[in-house]
């Protein structure tokens, strides 16, 4: 990145960090939180997606994260801080159980996508089937943890003030970007890029294909399940469709593709874009015709994939690069 861009980035980040102090309204604040929360989750997905592991099952990890903390809190009053650790542990186990054989037996491409789709369906159906505990398709609300006019409870991980959530989610989003950069600069990325080009050739130069892929998959699963925890605690309501349905799993993939999965801010941009699109359609179209906003949304997604397969940021980046090359090397 050129220094000019880097300075601009820091300035924008400073504005973002300071935005609650300047006094942003409740609604823009909510949008910012959602954008960063989904940006974090999308970044976690993109770690795998950019390296050829396209998962249609991240709803599974989202669901594990969200439901673990809420159910443990409601049934055993276990603080979500410990609940999150348990959720992460479960996600890691699931990622290994599914990931190891997939990578060991070279399940790639369509097969991998559909196996992970099955995983998300298993999680969704288990949540629905255990309706005595989970509330089934109606969803579940964490028991209120704020008593006697308290505005924040760390034990219940519930904050009535959005500003607290803003900084919590901001911290995780920045952590996600940092993880992305670490992966991007590591040997693992080079190894994985080689793997996504040709697995056999990569193995022949001494890359442990299964191990390298599994590491990234576990990292991605953990990030997604943390995203699920944050989502449940912020929204104070989860239902199996919104966290583990095929819709949300596809939406994660769409968001990342729309933003571009080969640049650090691509997934975040995709989250902002999808959110802006949804909100704009909701405001413009309104609720007069049920489903019209989704109709336009679906059509735009098709359009994007056909005409902008590299995503918005990716396409813009390519355009800039071409222009620069042309300027420096006018042949």
């Amino acid at each position: 990145m050129r220094p000019g861009f880097r300075h601009l980035g820091w300035v924008l980040l400073a504005i973002l960090v300071a935005s609650p102090l300047i006094g942003v309204g409740i609604y823009p604040m909510h949008l910012l939180i959602m954008a960063m929360l989904w940006g974090f989750i999308y970044t976690g997905w993109a770690l795998m997606g950019r390296l050829g592991m396209v998962s249609l099952g991240h709803g599974a990890f989202l669901g594990i994260g969200a439901y673990s903390v809420v159910l443990l809190w409601n049934a055993y009053s276990l603080t979500p801080l410990v609940g999150a650790a348990i959720a992460i542990a479960i996600s890691l186990i699931v990622a290994v159980i599914i990931g190891y054989p997939c990578f060991r037996f070279k399940i790639v491409g369509h097969y991998f996508a559909l196996v992970t789709l099955a995983l998300a369906e298993v999680v969704r159906l288990v949540i629905v089937a255990m309706r005595d505990v989970t509330g089934g398709s109606l969803g579940v609300t964490p028991a209120p943890g704020l008593h006697d006019g308290a505005t924040a409870s760390l034990k219940a991980l519930q904050f009535s003030d959005r500003v607290v959530w803003f900084y919590v989610v901001l911290a995780f989003w920045l952590l996600g970007l940092w993880v992305w950069r670490q992966v991007d600069r590591s040997m693992n990325r080079l190894a994985l890029q080689a793997i996504s080009e040709d697995e056999d050739a990569a193995a022949s130069i001494g890359i442990d294909v299964t191990r390298t892929k599994l590491k990234i998959a576990m990292l991605s699963a953990v990030m997604t399940s943390i995203g699920g925890v944050l989502y449940a605690q912020y929204q104070m309501y989860v239902n199996p469709e919104t966290v583990s349905g095929i819709g949300v799993s596809l939406q994660i993939v769409f968001g990342v593709i729309a933003g571009g999965m080969f640049v650090m801010l691509g997934p975040t941009f995709g989250a902002v874009f999808l959110l802006a699109l949804q909100e704009a359609l909701r405001v413009l179209v309104g609720n007069k015709v049920h489903g019209l906003d989704l109709l336009i949304y679906g059509a735009l997604l098709i359009f994007f994939i056909i005409y902008m397969p590299k995503g918005i940021l990716g396409t813009l980046g390519d355009g800039l690069k071409r222009q620069r090359n042309w300027l420096s090397d006018p042949r």
């Binding site: 559909l114 369906e121 095929i246 059509a299």
Partner: protein, 289 residues
């Protein structure tokens, strides 16, 4: 529980009948994948469109049922061709994931279109065929018809693929898509015919499903995932494998759903699927590469 449980027998028989229907669903999807190498994630949504077309023409326009069925099959076949021509064809040379996702966009689109046009209410065509008592087992006529028609369609599709010139061309393309154009086969035309055939099979499935289930915009989600998994379990693109896998899955859903609860039947089927991926990662009857 007795060793010979009459309800268990009924569950097994219902599973067998369901298997025929699932085999029909899997056939269409497998055909598309085997020939065009693209997974139509929105396959079950095409069925949903067919069901609405049948419902709409039969109840609102008072068309006789056979005409409504013909409309359903024809419409979805056309829809399949349109899907291929306008959506899949532009991304044929793109990344495989983009091909998968673009049909995922169609899934959202069709679901939303159905919601806009018909609302989220459950609709029913209002035909109840009853059942035949056979000893203590009660057999649903709608399921028997579905089973028989599905098997007949599968046999016809098999004969078409093996006994006609176009069918042979379709199979040839699925075996080697680089060489066949050199042999004078126009792949674009074959793709279009295959898409029409896949759509037609989805339309036929719509005719059979409309007799058994209520119609609503999200009905595709109850058949879509299971259809993909059947195809993967049988080996994507392998028609015979998909056929066998459909019956295995149906038994899990039916018997598992009877012994436990209905959702647990599905969970068992999916867990079995994931377990089988470890044993036979390329599907039960993988095409050898």
């Amino acid at each position: 529980m007795d060793i010979f449980d009459i309800f268990l027998l009924e569950a097994v028989i219902n599973g067998l009948l369901l298997g025929g229907l699932l085999a029909l669903l899997a056939l269409g999807l497998n055909l598309i994948f085997g020939v065009i190498d693209v997974v139509w994630i929105c396959y079950a949504e095409l069925i949903m469109v067919g069901m609405y077309a049948i419902f709409w023409s039969h109840t609102d326009f008072g068309w006789p049922l056979w005409l409504a069925f013909a409309l359903g099959i024809g419409l979805v076949a056309l829809l399949g061709m349109a899907l291929h021509w306008f959506i899949v064809r532009p991304v044929l040379s793109a990344e495989p994931i983009n091909q998968l996702l673009v049909t995922g966009g169609v899934l959202f689109f069709l679901q939303a279109a159905a919601t806009v046009a018909f609302g989220v209410e459950f609709r029913n065509i209002g035909i109840r065929l009853g059942g035949i008592p056979l000893g203590d087992v009660n057999l649903s006529i709608a399921r028997l018809i579905a089973f028989a028609v599905a098997l007949l369609a599968i046999v016809l599709a098999y004969l078409f693929l093996t006994r006609t010139y176009t069918g042979t061309a379709i199979r040839a393309i699925s075996q080697d898509r680089e060489i066949m154009p050199l042999m004078g086969v126009n792949p674009g035309k074959v793709y279009l015919v295959t898409s029409a055939m896949g759509g037609g099979l989805a339309g036929l499935a719509a005719c059979l499903l409309v007799l058994q289930y209520d119609i609503h915009p999200a009905i595709g989600l109850s058949f879509g995932p299971i259809t993909f998994l059947i195809c993967v379990l049988g080996g994507l693109g392998n028609l015979f494998g998909g056929f066998v896998a459909a019956f295995i899955f149906a038994q899990f859903i039916s018997v598992g759903g009877y012994v436990l609860k209905i959702e647990w039947g599905y969970v068992l089927a999916f867990v079995f699927f994931i377990a089988m991926m470890f044993v036979r990662p390329e599907g039960l009857f993988a095409r050898r590469r």
